[in-house]
Amino acid sequence: MKGTVIASSLLIAFFCMSGRTAEWLTNGGDPQRTNWQRDEHVLTKENVKGLKILWKLKLDNQPREMHSLFPPLIVTGVRTSGGVRELAIEAGISDNIYAIDVKTGRLIWKRHFEYPTPREGTGFDLGDPLCPGGQTASPVIGPPDTQGRRIVYALSGDGRLHFLNVEDGEEIRPSVKFGFANSKSYALNLWNGVIFTTTSQSCNGSPNQVWAIDVNDPAQKVMVFNPRSGGLWGREGASIDSTGTAWAPTGDGKYDPENYTFGNGLIGVKAEGNQLQLEDWFEPRNWFWMEKRDLDMQVTPAIFNFQGQELLAIGSKACRIYLVDTKAAGGEDHQTPLAETPLMCNEEVNFASAGIWGSLATWEDPSGTRWILTPFWGPVHSKFTVPVSYGAVTNGAIVALKLESSGGSFKLVPSWISRDMNRAEPPVIANGVVFAYGSGENTEQAYRERGLYDYSPERIKNSTHAVLYALDGETGKELYSSGDQITSWVHFGGLSIANGRVYIATYDSTLYCFGLQAE
């Protein structure tokens, strides 16, 4: 133990001297939503077992339905009145943005968006976890502007896009209208000055579609593309490829391309000439079955390069991963993926508490092996075989797949499955370590005695607490577990990692920061 601490201290010292700092500026860590922290140098497979809670901060954000805090964004080199700091920018559902000094866990500034109470219309109902109202989209931080300022782009509950100075939370320009009030917008993404979001649930009458706005457009035109069916509820919003095409899953709906209808699939749209144009799409062949059983294509895809080709991985509640080429998604008929896995879970074919939820993760190890990781909820499929496993999986797990190719064909090869996790959520890979968590959230939407009954108070009452895990990225072996240190649960949250710290925010509006004691 003593040796580990010394080694960690030396690593930190080296890291500090090298001047390379990591940031986490958007959900998923990058516009491609890889959930791969490439610049982590502090946490290692060897020292991660020494993770402790460095600090936790209870914020005054009020949960709405099951939503509370979103994954924090981590930005470094921020000039504040107290000096240059590394900040966690934490967004809360009740229209709050907090800036926290990650070294001390102290609040630096807070911004609360004030606006007249929006009309509460269609899709807004007390007790409905699907339409909580308020700020539902995780913000995004842009690169320094011409004055060197970092801007936090945040979408408030009244549907206005705000431009906050990360240094003090002040608005550096007037907000612009970017959607319906109390809609259900998902994590913002940023590409060459264009902000993207997606919407679902038709909350407050908002259409379910991709939204974009060029922040440099004087006209501030809001661009949209509507797939005409489904709801775009990938947790991390849209992923953006190297051409600027934003890819988003469309959720349960109908597929009728002749009539420009793309439910239960994946669409790629691009901002061209102040309009969002459909670039391409992919549709699972069994979309009809998926719609019938409410198995939604609803996972934010992960985009990555592999042997000179830009590929995209996506999954659904059906619990299968598809691999497609971003240059020709689904081939000639849009329904032929490059590769797909067998069903990994959800043998029951359930619409809740089973299948893949949220997003994926992908990384490349030092040997050049490309890994794709997926979380899932519920029991593993009885026919899913994987060479390495760690006991029975009944509540959820992480599955790691290796991508292999030969002669132009691709294979997603199951490599390991993690230990059981209570509702495994999207992992983050940092320095060969897979950080994952079981949310502890009660995900039931239907009951033996009642049928469908997706009611927040019931779910809140039955939720437990989250557990953070660290796994060996190549074997899935458990290296760390937070046990019962986290006392609340997580809904629509996520992990953020940078510079030896792992962040997770819980329903009770507490932000936890894990790190090594030596620091």
Binding site: G230, D252, K254, N286, D333, E348, N350, L452, Y453
Partner: protein, 560 residues
Amino acid sequence: MRYLAPSLLMAAVAAALWAADWPMPGGNPQRNGWAGSERRVNKANVGGLRLLYKYQADNRSQGLDGLSTPIINGNLITYRGFKEMLIFSGSSDKVFSVDADLNKLLWETQLPYAATKSRAKSPTEACPGGLTAPVVTDGSSSASLQFAAIAARTPAGKTVRASRPSPYFPPLSHSLYPLLPTTLTQLNALYTVSSDGYLHVLNSSTGEDLIPSFRFVPPNAKVTSLNLHGNVVYATTADNCDGYRNALFAIDLLSSQKEVTSFVLPEGDFAGTAGTAIGNDGTVYVQCAFAPENRTARYYDTVVALTPKTLKVKDYFRVSDKAVKAKDEMPGVTPVVFSHSGRDFVIAGGRDGRIYLLDSRSLGGADHRTPLFASAPVAESSKKHDGSGFHGVFSTWMDVDTGVRRIYVPVLGRLRSSTEVKTSEDSAENGAMAGFELRGTSEKPVLTPLWVSRRMLSPAPAVIAAGMVFVLATGDSPRMGQKEGKSSSVPEHTQVAQPASLHVFDAVTGKELYSSGGIAPGSSLSGGLAFANSRAYFTARDNAVYCFGIPGQQTQLSEQ
């Protein structure tokens, strides 16, 4: 952007999504046999029908009885996910629910025997004992709104709005709250009568009792069919089993005392396999079978309209003044109801072999003997208990493209040689399906013969879907007794049974579009087809459910 090649569009554009129900025999309380929302199976592809799967149930046959005619709940949101449920009962007092898409058992319920009177010991051909009637649930085969509404929302649970905390969140059986008019319907409750005569209201997600069961019909009665309208459950019994007179029973589930009302037959049975048909105003229609010649029985071979719940006679239509003798017994049909011009019409089949059209406003006119229309004799009369005549239930649909209504009539034995029906060369030796078209006006309707199918052994009531007529040839013997009138034993009956087969005909021309050939052990003559969401189901004597569909449309069976 890449565009889809036109040729690929044909494959890519799937048919609209529907999730229809088949909640009871005949598809609905009116018993019209019409699967109104079918879109994916059509005349062009129906030739590709195949046996998709067979579900072998853990049930022990009693007498000739095994599994009941199945029903389908097209989309039920359960704690285990969205399920299309194939539900049926077994003679061993069991109810089964199978995932109809995947052929996987969801639950199996063993109902208790709670009566003080002991179980029937020796099953006979007529009185098998055990659970005899198909399970029913609320709904209609012609309505697909339930799933259409759900499918329109995104994602899970959107349109079906979470409501305020429900008093029924605890088990209903433990709840202090009274039942609301909509509660059981909202919960997709299932209704079944166990062999002890108790009515069970089951949770469709689990098979457990939603509310405590209660006595409804005499123990060991042979319940032929249940029907449901506005939280009132109806049951008919047959064959005077265990010494009880045959009767129609009704119970209002919302009543505090759960008082059972009845309409008791002095003699004879209710005609047909479906017992009752219920009009859109809740009127209950039955056809009483026969009465001994030497006794006075007001309603023999008579269509009777009864008030909802109370079962008081509102009206009746007497087919004939002549009593039908037991020795000349004919199977008969349950009336079927359809709506036209804002009112209900009743189609009935007489033991004289004629088809009758009745106006619900006055079934038989002032003299109770004057129908709107009477056909020429179509079916032969039963002789020496050979079972000839109409059987089961008629089926009817309206072609929404042309507005033409058509009627399909299962006939056992020969058709009348004098009939106007156009017969095919091979028709009617052992039974056939005959099609008719309704013409004229609502005041003066006329039934015009369309076609007669090829010969089929004991056809069950037809199901109409997408302009086609699906018919199960049960393979059962139509004979209702030995020539001298003595009842057949169970072995004697089963020895002459033949394999069941499924047939599909063009509803307009009668052209046969599909025939499975003999594919299952014989089915019960009291059984029939269920049809929903491009699949047809029937049960056979081997205690199995057979499911037919087009394999290319059912890829989930191979992908799971």
